[in-house]
């Protein structure tokens, strides 16, 4: 088991290197180089050369990459091209905000999804199943921004139940700041709920069709121990999908963060694209991609811990 975990960890390294290479390459997707773009057209060639040397653009490409990577690993992504503040600080703040949303959205979406999927599989073909299938289909097929807008209209505009936008002031009491979370968290949880719910339902139905479940009753187990067996068998594929979904949530839904004006990483990414703020773009993508890879690693290890047949 430990060996398996170590091997997976080693396998993650080339993936991360590949990711950083792509992210580094982003700078060069833009035609010319960033300095040419940023400098006023009337700048003298000496100044441009000086700037290039200062930012390291005069070195060969692979040296540029290595230097960039070396600094990135230490959390130094340079200054934002837009407002000249350190990228790392901006990113950290945005990530923190997104984390709050993602964790709550995932917790809500996953638990609802697991509950609904489990119940509808155990009541296969009867009304709870049909009800949930309808909810899940609606959940995954409604556009995010549409839900967000409807929620805002109903809860914030028509009634004055909840704040519509932003994340509240630091000075507000906790309970009021929590109110700002409600609508974006609900919106975010819809897709994970539907997707996880459907997978749980399908997986559990598949397991219920296997002979060993009959054998569990044959040895006299009551309802809850049987459900525990089913849950453990269903866990690996469900965990894999949860990892994926949580990764998406961490990426910060650009749409949800934009509609709710939530200052998270999705919002930051959105701004960085519009402002052509390459360092911010690079840092955000690299950090999110790293999270994604690590998350998958964690899921792999958890899967192997649950199902011994996965360990190889």
């Amino acid at each position: 088991m430990l060996l398996f975990a170590l091997r997976r960890l080693l396998q993650a390294i080339p993936i991360l290197l590949g990711v950083s290479l792509v992210v580094f390459g982003l700078v060069h997707i833009v035609p010319g180089n960033p300095i040419d773009m940023l400098m006023p057209p009337e700048a003298s060639p000496e100044v441009i050369a000086q700037m290039k040397a200062a930012f390291g653009f005069d070195k060969p490409l692979y040296m540029q990459f290595l230097l960039w990577l070396l600094r990135a690993v230490q959390g130094d992504f340079g200054l934002s091209v837009f407002n000249a503040t350190p990228v790392w600080g901006q990113l950290l703040a945005a990530l923190e905000n997104t984390f709050v949303l993602a964790i709550l959205g995932a917790a809500l979406g996953f638990s609802m999804g697991i509950l609904c999927g489990m119940v509808s599989a155990l009541y296969h073909g009867r009304w709870p199943d049909k009800l949930f299938s309808a909810i899940a289909t609606v959940g995954v097929s409604l556009p995010h921004y549409w839900c967000a807008i409807v929620l805002v209209l109903v809860c914030a505009v028509l009634h004055d139940w909840l704040p519509a936008q932003g994340m509240g002031d630091d000075t507000l009491p906790l309970y009021e700041r929590l109110q700002y979370l409600v609508l974006p968290v609900i919106t975010l949880s819809l897709i994970p709920m539907g997707v996880i719910g459907r997978l749980v339902r399908a997986t559990v139905l598949d397991i219920l069709g296997q002979d060993f479940v009959g054998a569990l009753s044959a040895k006299g187990l009551t309802r809850w121990p049987v459900i525990r067996h089913i849950a453990k068998n269903a866990a690996p594929p469900v965990l894999a999908l949860m990892g994926l979904q949580f990764g998406y949530l961490l990426g910060g839904s650009i749409l949800v963060e934009t509609v709710f004006n939530w200052p998270g990483s999705g919002n930051l990414l959105n701004l960085a694209i519009f402002r052509r703020d390459i360092p911010v773009l690079q840092a955000t993508i690299l950090v999110l991609a790293t999270f994604f890879v690590l998350l998958n690693l964690l899921v792999d290890i958890a899967q192997a811990a649950i199902d011994p047949r996965i360990r190889r």
Binding site: A215, L221, N233
Partner: protein
């Protein structure tokens, strides 16, 4: 061994009937099965695929799906058990009655260790703590002669060989000292040498624990090996019952005769092998009269009408055939 009628039977089944009724089909899977079983006795239900053997066992355990219509009476240790509420049934299953299956992979959960699976059964039934249950599980693995049992306790099913899994499954079934063990083709999936080992093990365990066994198989050889009595099942009915010797040596029913002459076994040495022509009947459209009539070379008009009379010999053997008496004399 069956030595008289002094003790009350541990298991008595009367007129057990199972129908599967769904939208437009009505499958008569089991049609009035009667038998009783003493402690320490082994009854083999012998029959072709689809004759209703597994359904009979599942009906006894209350394991059939809700849409199955089960009727009749079943007494376990003198108590009626058919139609008990779910909680009471769960107490019996794996306790007083337990079951072993054709495929151990079908009986064992792939993501729990053998030890965990045996121990949880003991915990469920006896409410002891996990440590004690694990110790009992170890003892059981030793009892079914699994080598290095201590290590095997921590094995997952896929880490064991086929024969070993079989033994583990038997250990699981014996965990709470059942008074009746239902064995559904427990050896058909094994190769011959392992098959014999498992049969011997079952007999030895039975001698040690004194449980009654209902052994289901379509393998005449295995039936001859393990049973005290044999019931031959055809289309959901017992068409012939008797001691192993009676059924093997002097089969009365044409179906039993066909079954025996289509198999190699001691009792019939020297005779040519032949197969029974035709195929088992469709249980959704059973003909009136004898279900075997379309395949029977002795069939007469009387076979196709009404209920078939049951012929009983003074030695206690039974056959359900219009012509049983004349055929035996012939």
């Amino acid at each position: 061994m069956p030595d008289g009628t002094m003790q009350p039977p541990v298991l008595r089944v009367e007129d057990l009937t199972v129908r599967f009724t769904r939208r437009n089909t009505d499958v008569a899977a089991v049609n009035g099965v009667d038998f009783s079983l003493q402690a320490g006795e082994t009854l083999t239900i012998l029959g072709e695929s689809g004759s209703g053997k597994s359904v009979s066992l599942k009906a006894l355990m209350g394991l059939l799906p809700a849409y199955a219509g089960v009727s009749g009476k079943v007494w376990l240790n003198g108590k009626e058990i058919l139609g008990l509420p779910a909680a009471a049934l769960a107490k019996l299953r794996g306790g007083a009655v337990s079951m072993i299956f054709q495929e151990p992979m079908a009986a064992l959960d792939p993501v729990y260790t053998i030890g965990e699976q045996i121990a949880e059964t003991i915990v469920q039934h006896e409410g002891c703590d996990n440590r004690t249950a694990m110790k009992r599980a170890l003892g059981l693995l030793e009892q079914v002669k699994i080598p290095s049992a201590e290590r095997r306790l921590k094995n997952f099913p896929h880490e064991m060989s086929g024969g070993m899994r079989h033994r583990a499954m038997i250990a699981l079934a014996l965990a709470c000292k059942p008074s009746v063990l239902l064995a559904d083709e427990p050896t058909t999936a094994l190769d011959v040498t392992v098959q014999i080992q498992i049969l011997l093990l079952l007999r030895q365990l039975q001698a040690e624990l004194g449980m009654a066994i209902v052994f289901v198989t379509h393998d005449v050889g295995a039936a001859a090996e393990i049973s005290d009595r044999i019931a031959v099942m055809y289309a959901g009915r017992f068409v012939e019952t008797g001691t192993t010797r009676q059924v093997m040596r002097e089969p009365m029913h044409p179906y039993t005769q066909g079954l025996l002459s289509s198999t190699v076994h001691g009792g019939m040495r020297g005779r040519a092998l032949e197969t029974i022509p035709g195929s088992p009947p469709n249980l959704a459209e059973l003909p009136p009269g004898c279900a075997f009539a379309p395949r029977c070379r002795y069939a007469v008009d009387a076979c196709r009408q009404g209920d078939i009379p049951v012929v009983t010999t003074e030695t206690g053997a039974m056959a359900r055939c219009v012509r049983a008496e004349e055929l035996v004399e012939a």
